[in-house]
Symmetry: C2
Subunit: 213 residues, 2 copies
DNA sequence: TATATTTTTTGATAATTATCAAATGCAGTA
DNA sequence: TACTGCATTTGATAATTATCAAAAAATATA
């Protein structure tokens, strides 16, 4: 399928927030995030979990390189990944996913085209991944999985809108404040240059904004 | 369901482009757009079409007012509608849909919350609409409908990304050019102030941009 | 047609952010 | 500790666009 006007656009989406207060193993966190999105029966959940695989990535290692077709939807455990792409001579950070969040290269995953996005680990990270074909197959059999999946897409769509509104109407300071509120961790764990790009501003502007006052 | 950080964000999405060369009745156009997205069996298509209703709106009339829960996904025949919302003292044009395109208030439609968006007709327009509950019910019964629906959402998600990239990286002139290329009609049929807002620039800037050179 | 109203354009100025360049700070390592 | 490389900050300037105000053009109305 071809989308008119612009080839190769993608997005990575954060579906859930860290639930504070108690520590759970990564697998339990994955279950919790799924349940939070769409409460499934025990058997449905077991079935869905069965198609997820676990791996670990060393800091700097690539989960996905630009030009590959991205077959997976991901969930990062304790750790951090960065999704980025090349635009003219610059690297644009499209998304940052830390601790117990989902992400994927939307256009590549859905349209089965080579990904413009690359994904690498910013820290040693445990990563869960689910293959596109396994998901589609399970959607055929399981109405619960299918609904969960739909929920993931619609949530992703709504988050995409929120991000767009932020970029369109908020200035550098407001965007920084939003990030500070929603994910204070990021500021401590991710280099400024990546954060600046993620916020759609230059490193210099971010530096000025955060040191103002 | 609550999306953290920002309540009330929505989007309207254009799923298809006008197919030039031959005129078809509105219903046939709707069928063509659906088939283009996801080719269905004849019976599947008939079933899906059965849940669409047709109405007409006079120029200026509202399809949806802010604060109402939006129960419908829409398709505009020959005509034009504008989707907008109030932000501080200003009216922001979120989307413009002309001639044979789908649109809906995403957040309200999916989350069943009051819509921040309002929708009105810019011209006398024939509008097809499909109720949320009918769609959901049909998705339960028909795997084809369910897949079509998923396709609509994913397409919408990808288009949302394209729009975001345009707003983030293109300047006023480039955004105007993109619109001029993708929908030259809009410029002739929609007041500049709406177009400017849709492009995320002021009316004055749009005026300067279009008259440059 | 003349008048009123709305839409669009033009001008001057201000605000925000990017760009380029250099200085400073910091971490790791010999 | 001193050195090296990288990340961050600071400064000066330029580019883009918003804002406010008014003029001009287009459209509707009497």
């Amino acid at each position: 399928m071809v989308v008119p006007g612009c080839a190769g656009t993608h997005i990575l989406c954060k579906f859930s927030q860290h639930l504070p207060g108690h520590y759970l193993g990564t697998m339990e966190e994955l279950v919790a995030r799924i349940a939070q999105m769409y409460p499934m029966s025990e058997s449905g959940m077991a079935e869905f979990l069965s198609i997820w695989k676990s791996t670990t990535y060393e800091k700097g290692a690539h989960l996905l390189k630009a030009g590959q077709v991205s077959n997976y939807m991901y969930f990062v455990g304790k750790g951090a990944v960065r999704i980025y792409y090349q635009k003219e001579e610059k690297e644009i950070t499209e998304w940052l996913a830390l601790d117990y969040n989902f992400f994927f290269s939307i256009q590549s995953f859905f349209q089965r085209v080579p990904s413009r996005l690359a994904i690498h680990a910013l820290e040693n990270s445990e990563v869960f991944m689910m293959h596109h074909d396994d998901l589609m197959q399970l959607c055929e059999q399981s109405a619960e999985t299918e609904k969960l999946f739909r929920k993931m897409i619609t949530t992703s769509l709504i988050l995409s809108q929120i991000r767009m509104e932020s970029i369109q109407f908020e200035n550098a300071h407001q965007r920084y404040q939003r990030l500070l509120t929603s994910s204070p961790d990021i500021l401590k764990r991710v280099p400024l240059s990546y954060i600046a790009s993620f916020l759609g501003i230059t490193q210099e502007t971010l530096s000025r904004v955060r040191n103002a006052r």
